[in-house]
Every structure is written in C-alpha cells, then in structure tokens.
C-alpha cells in the first residue's frame, strides 16, 4: 500500500507559482520577447497558470504554447507498445524568443532534453530557461532548473505527483512512498 505525503497544498502551490512568476520577471526584466512553453501534460497546465500570473503582474499577455515530447523520447525501444502521441501547439514563432520551458516535476532531465530538441526543430530561440514546480533530483543529464517551486530530495523508488482539478488548476503536490 503506497503511503502519500502532501508536499505542497493548494495554497503552497499558488505561492510557489507566484514566486516563480516574480523571479521570471526579475531575471528577464519584464515580459518583452518572453514566451512560455509547457511540456504535456502537467507542464502545460502550469504554464497557463504562470502565464496568467505574469499577465496580472505586468498587464501584458504572455504567449503560452505546448510541446509534446513523445516523438523525441530516447527510450522508445524500451516501450513494449508506444505511448500515445500528443499535439505540439506553438501558436507563435520561437525564433529569437526567450523561451521559458515549464514542467511539473524535474527528475532525470531526459524529458527536458527531449523538449529542447522539439523546440529547436521549430526555430532558434535566443535562450531557453527552465521553470519546474518540483525538483526531485536524480539527474542523468547536466540540466538544472532556473526557477524551482520546491526542492524535494527523494529516493528513486519514490514518486512525485502533481494533482490538478477538473479545470486543470494545480491542487497539490504529493510524495508517494
């Protein structure tokens, strides 16, 4: 029987996202040339939340897109049957843009590498920054996040899950042992 511990409750998630929004603005000195790209599926919901906060603070709409990394995975041979493919929707050009890549949990870094490959196939951004709600460690690749909601040291056997409600709003972060 899995044991669940709540790492961040609803209020904690909101605070973390608000803080990330301020850090993004501070690092980029505003939203000029900034676009948010969420990694399907959890990252897309978080990118939308982050976009709303940035717009509220700056009064300017920040474009939000979605990237599906299924076709860029490096473990395709390991899957007995292939994963369902999602849609990449970038309703803007990434050429010369400051891309903030958003995901729910940062783990091995392989998902982020795949997402960066997917973005570079669409154009050449001026830079890519990474925002994650939870960094759980255990990196296989030299990748680190620029903005982190919460660092949660975990063992490999544990699992981190970000829960969303029916409207795709993040509700809590759970550690499953």
């Amino acid at each position: 029987m899995a044991e669940n511990t709540v790492i961040l409750d609803g209020t904690g998630v909101k605070r973390a996202l608000t803080r990330i929004a301020h850090e993004v603005l501070e690092k980029n000195k505003g939203v000029e040339g900034l676009v948010l790209v969420g990694i399907r599926t959890g990252g897309v919901h978080l990118a939308q939340e982050l976009g709303t906060r940035l717009s509220e603070i700056e009064g300017v709409e920040v474009p939000v897109g979605a990237v599906d990394i299924t076709m860029y995975r490096d473990d395709i041979k390991g899957h007995h049957e292939h994963l369902p493919v999602g849609k990449t929707e970038l309703p803007f050009s990434v050429e010369g843009k400051k891309v903030v890549l958003v995901d729910d949990v940062l783990f091995t870094g392989r998902t982020i590498r795949a997402a960066m490959d997917a973005i570079f196939d669409q154009g050449r951004p001026s830079c890519i920054q990474l925002a994650v709600l939870v960094d759980r460690g255990h990196r296989d690749l030299p990748i680190r996040a620029d903005f982190v909601g919460r660092n949660v040291p975990t063992s490999r056997s544990e699992n981190i899950m970000v829960a969303f409600d029916a409207d795709n709003k993040p509700t809590e972060v759970i550690l499953q042992k």
Partner: protein, 310 residues
Amino acid sequence: MGFRHKDIIALKDLTKEEIELLLDTADNLSEINQRDIKKVPTLRGKTVINLFYEASTRTRTSFEIAAKRLSADAVNITASTSSVVKGETLSDTAANILAMKPDIIVMRHSVSGAHEYLAKRVSCSVINAGDGAHEHPSQGLLDMLTMRQKFGKLAGLKVAIVGDITHSRVARSNIYGLTTMGAQVFLAGPPTMMPPGVERLGNVTVCKDMREAVDQADVVMMLRIQLERQGKTLLPSMREYSRYFGLNPAVLALAKKDAIVMHPGPINRGVELASSVADCDQSAILKQVENGVAVRMAMLYHVCGGEPVE
C-alpha cells in the same frame, strides 16, 4: 490503451479503440508536416522497406515521406526492377529482404492475402499498402481521418460509396473501418460490380441507384474505374457508366449542403467525377493526400512496438 499489433494487414482486424488511437496519433502528427523542419527523431536507426509488386506512385511516395519524417531509412523495391521478374517466389524474396534486417516491410501486392502470408514468415512488422481486391488499410484510415476532421466524429455519418465495389480494396477497408466506428455506409454501383451479400458486412445498405445513396449524405466517396483491369468487360461503355454512376453537380446537390467529395485517386476526369466536382470547394481529394502522410506516420510508429497476433 496501446496498439499491440506487429502488423497492420486489414482494418477488419482492428477494434474501434485501435482505429481511434491511429486516427488520434495521425491527427497529432499532422502538425509536423506543417513545420519548416518536417522531421522528428522517433524511428532513427529503423529501416523501412517499401516492397511494391504493383505500380503506385502516390501510396509509395506517401509511405516513403512518412518514414523519412520519422527519421527512418526508407528503401524502395519495385517488382519490375527486382528478382521477381526472374521468377523468385514471395517467400524467397521475403527471406532475402529479412536477411538485410529491416524493421518494417510496407508491401503492395496484386494477390489478396499476400500480406498475411508474408507476416507469418517474417519477424519484422508488415504493413499492407494494398492487396488485390482485399484491403487498403492506410487509405481507409486517411479517409476516416479526413471525415473526422471535417465533421468532428464518424459515428452517425452517412457515407455513400459509389463505383466498382467488388474489386475495390479501398471500399472494403472503408466499409470495415466506418461500420466499426459507427457510420452508416450506402453503396451504389453497376450490378456487375456489386458483390453479393455485401450487406452482411455490417451497417451497409445497397442502393438501387446512385441518387438514393447520395441523398442527404455527409460524404460522397467515388471509386476509380480501373480501366486497366476489369472495366472493359463489366461495363457496356464509359459513357453509360458516367451517366448512371458519375458524380456531377446535379447529383451532388442531393447530398447535405456541407457534404464532402472524396476519391482515392487517380481520378478519371469525366468518368466517375465531373471535372467541376473534382475541383469544387466540397472536394476533399487533396486533403486526403495530405492526411495520407500523417496516417502512414502513425502506422509506422505504432507497429514498431507491437507483437504477433496469435
């Protein structure tokens, strides 16, 4: 829900969920075909052999482009330039191709059932690109994708299929696929080209004349009269066929206002389709060709993880 088949031989073998998965994948992959860089690394290192025993430019090119967009290495073998003309059997050809370690063989063959025969003898995946008068699953899937994009669903659609039903693998794949997905199929064609007992295939109605099939249809699918094959012996004249089973603006007006016209190509202009209909706003013929690449990408992607069906 995953796709567990090693091969795709016929839409008759696939469940509603499996067809839906292939269509969803194709729909999502179609975005890749709109990019400047139309390539993803998914099947890097995989080898796809297009083994075509029958002439086909459109299907072979479509499979080749699909394989290349997924970064697979695609090799084309056409029967006229291979050892087939020297008398090699399909079994020997398969053994020799297999020795070169391909991952997927895409085959077109004039004999119905050739793919099933091949799939049982090779360890790699086999995709049917048309076998005799049996099935043409990639065409059936791209047709269904085109309809689903237009109407948002397949269940409840009225689809008229007009022409040589007996010899059409396109018609057979569409009948299996569409009835599995809950669409209603209405068939019309000369009595010499209507297989007896076709009603038993599912939600299929055979109509006495073409107007009855097209009346209030959402989709009008015209089949090609295969002039190079049986056309001459089963029809009094092309002119008569065109008069009774050709789609012209007057007959198309019987269908729903937003109906689409489909054709697997190549078109015999003025025979099964009036030129004005082939080029009208309701024509989805080029959209079918466009969707062909995405559907074939989805098929190549999903067979790579499947296993043989016992």
